[in-house]
Structures are given as structure tokens and as C-alpha cells.
């Protein structure tokens, strides 16, 4: 039966996440935005609490816990499931409403776990599960084109030796593990690309620098050099065979799971913008009347409803993608649609809110300007807007990546 309301059964968990977001994230937002690269120690205590809860992965960060599985949740009588994908999404929306930079640097969360969950075997899951894992894909010469990466992995005895350069590693400095994408044989193209787990304290993993960024400054973004970095050969995630048919598809699957979560972050940040803007507009005497035609109310009210309507579309597209994952329906198309709509909508909303609120919006006394800086990353990482449109277009038009570049 068609129902697009947020299930009551998640209320408790959303409430918990909201508490964390408002009590811990919001009160430290400005501090770590100003103090880039200093470690938010307040999160250690929080991480311990979350390890304790961890029910259904509600408070888990992007990719942690049971992402991709509708684990353990009973279906209703129609066989419909609302499981950990929706739970994770709802939790993330709340936490991102608090502060998306802090969310991205939550200990033991992070995108690396999604990569591990997507391709690891059982033994690897046991060895690496629960650890703080970052993801190292991008290279100076290979961004969206992740098939073009140059970092190599060479088998020498019982070890792989990694060499290359990785940039834009979110939580790279603070994580315990870095999941590194490298090629076993550059001549064999994308099928030869595998992911490898590197311990952060490996001597061959050399931190080059931390980025200074537009936003999400609470979260460290690391650049690494891999120099004869030796790892046990069991740290190759999944199969070491080069299978031209499906090798790359495996690692790319990670993104089907994480894109709705990044979309959720965009929804959380932009909800914060809308809520605060609405308060400020109300103080300014603007009344928002949902029944009136756009031209029959003041421009600010009309603009607010327009922003809210796009926000609602983005939110529902994202819920759809998560719901499909919970019900084991292939959702690659919907995940990219959600990410595309949410990324651009959230950025648009945040910037318009700054403009609507004038100097209050632009000044540092409010968080609106910070959210407008933070939000832009969500239209970039985990696949830029343009990459999402390519994925959506290829699926709709029945085209391969060679036919639509």
C-alpha cells in the first residue's frame, strides 16, 4: 500500500540522532570550522556511545554497519521491508542537519567500510569490520574517471607492494585503515582494478599534506604517497583474479550503496538551511501560506515554498533509493537520480537561503554561510553531479560508457 510517511518505528532512532546532532554537533560546529585540522575530541566519547547503541545502524556513518542489506527486519504482510538502508539514511539526515563535517569524521564510520562490506570475504569482514576505514580512490590525474587510476599493486611473495599517489582521502589521517584502489596490471584496464586494505601506520603510506577546504573543515582530507607500501596479500578485498566481465563492476557497486547516503547528507544540511531561514523570515514578518498561489504571496514566501518543494522531491527520491535497497530491488538508477537531485538542490537551497537572509545569512554569527560552504562537497564526492547524470542517462538510453562519454 502506497505510503510515503517516515515510519513510526524509526522515531526513537531519529530522535537519538537528532539529540546528538543538536547537542554535540551543533555546539561544536563553529569551533572546528575555524580550527581546521584539529581533531574533534568530543567525538571520541560520542563514538563510544554509538558503538553501544548501533541498533540497525541508525547512527552509523556513510557505509558502516549493514548498508546494502535489509538485515533482520521483518517484512509486513505484503512482503514490504523497511530495514537498515532506510534506518541509516534517516540517521544520517539528522546528523547532517547537525554538522556534516563532524559526521564525516566520526570515528569508526566512513566510506571505507562500505567498500569493505561490498566486496570483502567473510574472513576479511571479521578482520576489518568495525574499524575506522577511509577510502582512497582519487589520484591527481584520475578523479571521476576512476578506471584511469595509476597506483599499482605488485605481488611479491606473500605481499602486495603498492606504489602511487592518492588524494582527497576523507578522514585519511584519522582512520585506522585506508582502502586503496590500485591496478594489478594497467594494460588490462578496469578489470584489473582491485581494492586493498592498508593499515594507517604502514611505513609505506606517507602523508603528504592535509587539504585546506571551502567547507567540511572538521573532516580531514588527506593526500598520500604510497612508496613500496607492503601489505599482506590477504588484504586484497574480494577475488585476486582479473575477470574482464565483472571485476570493476564489483568495486563500483560500493557506490550504489553510498550514493543515497550522501544524498541524505545533502537533505540534512539543506533542511537545516530551510529551518533557520524560515525562522529568520518569520522574524522579518514573512508569512508562508501553502494554499496561496505563488504570485499571491510575497516573493520570499513563494521562493521558500519553491525551495521546499525541490527539497521534498530530493528527499523522496532518496527514500525511494533506500527503500529499494531494503527490498533488494536493483536501485543503481534511483540511487544516482537521488544523488543528482539532492546534490544540486541542497547547494541551490543553501545559497538561496544565504541570499534571502542577507548579511545575517552571509555573516559568521549564523551557520547559514557555513552550511552553504559545507554543502557543495555533496554535489562532488561519491560521483559529481555530471557523473550521476551520465549514469542516469546511460541507463535510460540503453547506452554503454563507450557510447555515451
Amino acid at each position: 500500500m502506497i505510503n510515503l510517511e517516515t515510519p513510526k518505528k524509526f522515531e526513537f532512532l531519529v530522535g537519538q540522532a537528532h539529540q546528538v546532532a543538536s547537542e554535540i554537533f551543533r555546539s561544536n560546529s563553529r569551533k572546528y570550522d575555524g580550527d581546521e585540522h584539529s581533531y574533534p575530541k568530543e567525538l571520541d566519547m560520542l563514538a563510544a556511545v554509538i558503538d553501544g547503541m548501533n541498533e540497525g545502524g541508525a547512527l552509523s556513518g556513510a557505509g558502516a554497519g549493514g548498508v546494502g542489506e535489509g538485515n533482520g527486519k521483518k517484512p509486513d504482510r505484503d512482503g514490504n521491508r523497511n530495514g537498515s538502508n532506510i534506518a541509516s539514511l534517516l540517521g544520517l539526515i539528522e546528523l547532517s542537519w547537525g554538522d556534516v563535517g563532524l559526521l564525516l569524521t566520526m570515528p569508526r564510520q566512513g566510506l571505507g567500510q562500505a567498500a569493505i562490506a561490498a566486496v570483502a570475504n567473510e574472513q576479511q569482514l571479521k578482520r576489518f569490520g568495525g574499524k575506522w576505514a577511509a577510502m582512497a580512490i582519487t589520484e591527481p590525474e584520475a578523479g571521476s574517471d576512476s578506471a584511469a587510476i595509476r597506483t599499482t599493486a605488485t605481488l611479491e611473495g606473500d605481499e602486495y607492494v603498492l606504489n602511487g599517489e592518492k588524494i582527497f582521502v576523507t578522514a585519511g589521517d584519522r582512520a585506522e585503515l585506508i582502502v586503496v584502489w590500485a591496478t594489478l596490471d594497467r594494460k588490462q584496464g578496469r578489470a584489473a582494478i582491485k581494492s586493498f586494505v592498508v593499515e594507517r601506520d604502514n611505513a609505506g603510506l606517507i602523508l603528504e599534506r592535509l587539504e585546506h577546504k571551502l567547507g567540511i573543515r572538521a573532516s580531514d582530507t588527506a593526500d598520500f604517497r604510497l612508496e613500496n607500501c607492503r601489505i599482506p596479500k590477504d588484504n586484497l578485498l574480494g577475488s585476486p583474479e582479473i575477470e574482464p566481465k565483472r571485476g570493476f563492476a564489483g568495486v563500483m557497486q560500493t557506490f550504489d550503496n553510498t550514493r543515497p547516503l550522501v544524498a541524505g547528507m545533502a537533505i540534512g544540511v539543506s533542511r537545516a538551511c530551510l529551518e533557520r531561514t524560515r525562522e529568520l523570515l518569520t522574524e522579518a514578518g514573512v508569512e508562508i501560506d501553502y494554499d496561496l498561489p505563488p504570485h499571491a504571496q510575497v516573493a520570499a514566501a513563494s521562493e521558500f515554498i519553491a525551495m521546499e518543494s525541490d527539497w521534498e522531491a530530493a528527499r523522496l527520491l532518496t527514500m525511494q533509493a533506500a527503500w529499494m535497497a531494503d527490498n533488494k530491488k536493483p536501485n543503481s538508477l534511483q540511487a544516482s537520480m537521488a544523488k543528482a537531485k539532492a546534490g544540486r538542490t541542497a547547494t541551490d537551497i543553501a545559497l538561496r537561503c544565504v541570499a534571502l537572509c542577507g548579511s545575517i545569512g552571509y555573516g559568521e554569527r549564523e551557520l547559514l554561510e557555513k552550511w552553504a560552504r559545507d554543502v557543495k562537497i555533496l554535489d562532488l564526492f561519491e560521483g559529481t553531479q555530471q557523473i550521476q547524470l551520465l549514469i542516469v542517462a546511460r541507463q535510460l538510453l540503453g547506452k554503454t560508457s563507450a557510447e555515451l562519454k
Binding site: 500500500m1 510515503l4 518505528k9 521491508r81 499571491a296 523522496l316 534511483q334 542517462a393
Partner: protein, 441 residues
């Protein structure tokens, strides 16, 4: 092919009412009626004012002690995008009907400013006017089901928006009478909407002026003696010339906005054809009210902003569903076109500028659809839906129009000609941001 599916499935299965109707050979008759029977009520090109139709005499056939209302549907707590079996079957059947029957008739109906009587008859046999009527009064479904009607409207609009409006307008009136009618009003009118000869009817809210706001009506009603007197002009009323019954929104002196039941046989009202940019198959017209006297029993529901707001919201929901269906028609049309059309030695869809436009149509369309479904499901579950309808309306108005424009753009100059339906969809989609009432779900 579509016809085959359509026949096999049987349109009737979705609604209980259809089962009854199907048994007397409904399906066999599709497409087989004598062409002579097709009556095209073409709108005359000149603006000629005529009296409203004489129409039937509406009279109660039973005595009701109290009005009947459809109960609200109970709801599962879980988020769910799967329509129930009945809804799925109905949606597929109606979509088949729309693609097999409405789409081929659309261009001619657009030019004629009228929907063929044959199609209207078939649509009536679908039971569209029965969905909103309580079961004890002969209605087709047990519970309030705006979601079902949204799915039906969306599916019909995939065939043609203008014809869909013509088909759905009477159902809006039966839904209004079911929701707000008192015992006498329900006894007088509703039996006609569940019978074999469904009256043409429409909800008249829009008035002809810039910046029209449905909560500041210039159509006036005043109490006079036992009844009311109506004065004003209503704009873009579907099938106005043929209608036998109207729901008219007017400002009731001293009491706020109100809804009135107006029978076409009443002395005084007249009709002017008012063809527009699009939805021309709906044969839109103006309803002119000059000193029109109606009885006390014509007042529908309790006057005040709440009533008119709900009526307006349910109307907007209908236009959203139509925009979603029309948007889907655009998407389904442009995909094969851009894949087949070659320029510079390759399909134009190999270019990002074209491919991304298609992707964005799909993204925005899905957002419109989900927002519309959410608003409809809130109607069914009896929780407030003003905000959700408003958000869906804004999306369907603005994003929907952009889809219409992109549809033409993707076909280039060809899209501008009547060789392709995208120019019609472009014209039709503008209605979703302009119209109020006319139909309501």
C-alpha cells in the same frame, strides 16, 4: 499489441463496479461503435454565448437520514511505493486504454476542441465517477482512495491530458458531493453518477483575471429569500456547454468563500466557449452567472476558507497527477527519438547536452510523482495534506513545464510541428500551473 493486453486484462477487474459493467460486453464495444454515433461538440470559433444545457431533472430516489462518507483507509506504518494489486491492475488497464484509444484520438480532439463522445462513454464505463462515492450509495470502492484516482489520472494523461480532463471532471463533482454533500444533496445527485448515464459535470473555481487567487473570489453569492443569488464569471470550465451540473465557488456575502451546486437547467447562467493554449479536448468554456437564483439546498458544505481550501487542494492534486502522466508521455517519446535521430554522424543521444536533458526529465518527473503520491496518500489516511499538495503543485507546475519545454527542444524544429505530439504536451503542461478545480480527486 496494446489493445490485446487491454482486452486480455479486462479493464473491469480493478474496480468492483467495473466487474458489473464488464459483464455486459464493455470490452467488445471498444472501438466498434458506429462512427455516426461519434458526436463532436466542436466549440465554435466565434465567441457565442449560449444558455447552459437544459439537462436532466435531478431528483432524489431514496431518502437518506444522514450523509454517507467514505471511511479513511488504515495504513501500514512502513514506507512503501508498491500500489496494491487492485491499483496495479487498474493502472495498467487504464494506461493501455489511454495509449490505445486516447493517444490516437488526441490530435483530432485538440483541433476540434472536443473529446469524441465514444471515448467519454468508455471512460464513464471505467467507473471514474464512482471511485469517490460511498459504497452504500453505489460507489465502487470502500475507502477514500485519492491514491487510486491519482494513478488513474496519471495513466489517462499518458494518453492525452485534455481528454483525461474531459473524462475526469464529472468524477470531481461526485467526489465533492460525497465529501461535503448533506443527505438531501447526496440523495438527489449521487445516484446519477453511479448509473449508466453519468451527467457531464465540472467544478468551476477559476475566474478570468491576472493574479487570480481562489481565496479572493469575485463571483458573489448573496442570500435572498429562501435561497441565493449568484453573480460572476467562471473561467476554463471543462465541457461547460455540455455540463448538467456545476460546483461553483463564490464569495458568500459576510460568510466567506463557499461552494454551490448549480444545475444547468436553472434560469440565468450562460456559457461562452473559451478555448485555450492547451487541454483543448476538454472543451473549456466560461460560465457566466448574472442574477442566477438557486435554492437554499444548493449550498455545499460549510462556507469558509477551510472548505474551499480543501476543494482547491484536491483540484491541484488532480492537476499534479495529470502533469506526471503527461511528463511520462514526454519521456517515453523523446528516448527513442534521440536514440534514432542522427546528427554529425551519430545519434544525438551520444552527446551529453542531449543525454543530460533526458536524465533531468526523468529525475524531475520521478520527484513530481513521489511528491504527488505522498500528498494523495495523506488524503487517504486522513492526515493534513495542505503542505504536501502545495509542494507537489509547485513541482508539477514548474518542473512539469520544463519537461514540456525540453520535450520540444529535444526534437528541435520537428518538435515545433504537429508531426509530433510534444508541441501539444508543451501546451497542456502549462495548465498544471494555471488551473484550479475543474476536476478534483
Amino acid at each position: 499489441m496494446a489493445e490485446q493486453n487491454f482486452t486480455e486484462r479486462g479493464m473491469a477487474v480493478g474496480l468492483r463496479a467495473l466487474n458489473r459493467l464488464a459483464s455486459n460486453g464493455l470490452i467488445d464495444r471498444f472501438g466498434l461503435r458506429d462512427p455516426a454515433q461519434r458526436v463532436l461538440h466542436g466549440a465554435s470559433k466565434a465567441t457565442v454565448r449560449t444558455a447552459t444545457r437544459t439537462g436532466r431533472t435531478f431528483a432524489a430516489t431514496q431518502k437518506l437520514s444522514k450523509p454517507a462518507r467514505q471511511p479513511r483507509a488504515g495504513r501500514s506504518d512502513l514506507f512503501d511505493l508498491t500500489p496494491d494489486d487492485e491499483q496495479q491492475l487498474l493502472r495498467e488497464s487504464v494506461r493501455d486504454f489511454a495509449l490505445a484509444k486516447l493517444r490516437p484520438a488526441a490530435q483530432e480532439a485538440d483541433e476540434a476542441c472536443a473529446t469524441p463522445g465514444e471515448l467519454l462513454g468508455q471512460a464513464n464505463e471505467l467507473g471514474l465517477t464512482m471511485v469517490g462515492v460511498p459504497e452504500e450509495l453505489g460507489g465502487a470502492v470502500a475507502e477514500r482512495s485519492a491514491v487510486t484516482t491519482v494513478l488513474v489520472a496519471e495513466a489517462l494523461a499518458q494518453g492525452d491530458m485534455g481528454i483525461a480532463v474531459a473524462c475526469l471532471a464529472p468524477g470531481g463533482v461526485s467526489t465533492a458531493l460525497s465529501l461535503w454533500g448533506d443527505a438531501d444533496q447526496q440523495a438527489t445527485y449521487l445516484h446519477e453518477f453511479v448509473g449508466a448515464n453519468v451527467p457531464v459535470a465540472a467544478t468551476a473555481i477559476v475566474e478570468p483575471r491576472a493574479l487570480f487567487n481562489p481565496f479572493e473570489l469575485q463571483t458573489r453569492a448573496r442570500r435572498a429569500g429562501d435561497g441565493f443569488v449568484l453573480d460572476g464569471v467562471k473561467s476554463l470550465v471543462p465541457r461547460a456547454a455540455d455540463a448538467e451540473l456545476f460546483i461553483v465557488a463564490a464569495e458568500l456575502e459576510g460568510e466567506g468563500p463557499a461552494l454551490f451546486i448549480l444545475e444547468s437547467g436553472t434560469a440565468g447562467p450562460s456559457i461562452e466557449p473559451e478555448p485555450a493554449m492547451g487541454i483543448r479536448a476538454a472543451a473549456t468554456g466560461r460560465l457566466i452567472l448574472e442574477d442566477v437564483k438557486i435554492p437554499a439546498g444548493a449550498l455545499l458544505g460549510d462556507p469558509g476558507r477551510d472548505l474551499v481550501a480543501e476543494c482547491v487542494q484536491l483540484g491541484r492534486l488532480g492537476w499534479c497527477a495529470l502533469a506526471v502522466g503527461t511528463g511520462q508521455a514526454v519521456l517515453d517519446y523523446v528516448i527513442p527519438y534521440v536514440n534514432e535521430r542522427k546528427a554529425f554522424g551519430e545519434p544525438i543521444s551520444s552527446r551529453q547536452a542531449v543525454a543530460f536533458t533526458v536524465a533531468n526529465i526523468a529525475i524531475e518527473l520521478d520527484g513530481m510523482r513521489l511528491a504527488t503520491y505522498r500528498a494523495a496518500s495523506r488524503v487517504d489516511h486522513g492526515v493534513p495534506f495542505a503542505r504536501e499538495v502545495s509542494l507537489a503543485r509547485r513541482l508539477c507546475s514548474e518542473r512539469g513545464m520544463a519537461i514540456g519545454s525540453d520535450g520540444v527542444q529535444l526534437l528541435g524544429g520537428h518538435g515545433y510541428t504537429k508531426e509530433h505530439p510534444v508541441e501539444r504536451w508543451y501546451r497542456d503542461l502549462r495548465a498544471a500551473g494555471v488551473m484550479e478545480g475543474a476536476l478534483l480527486l
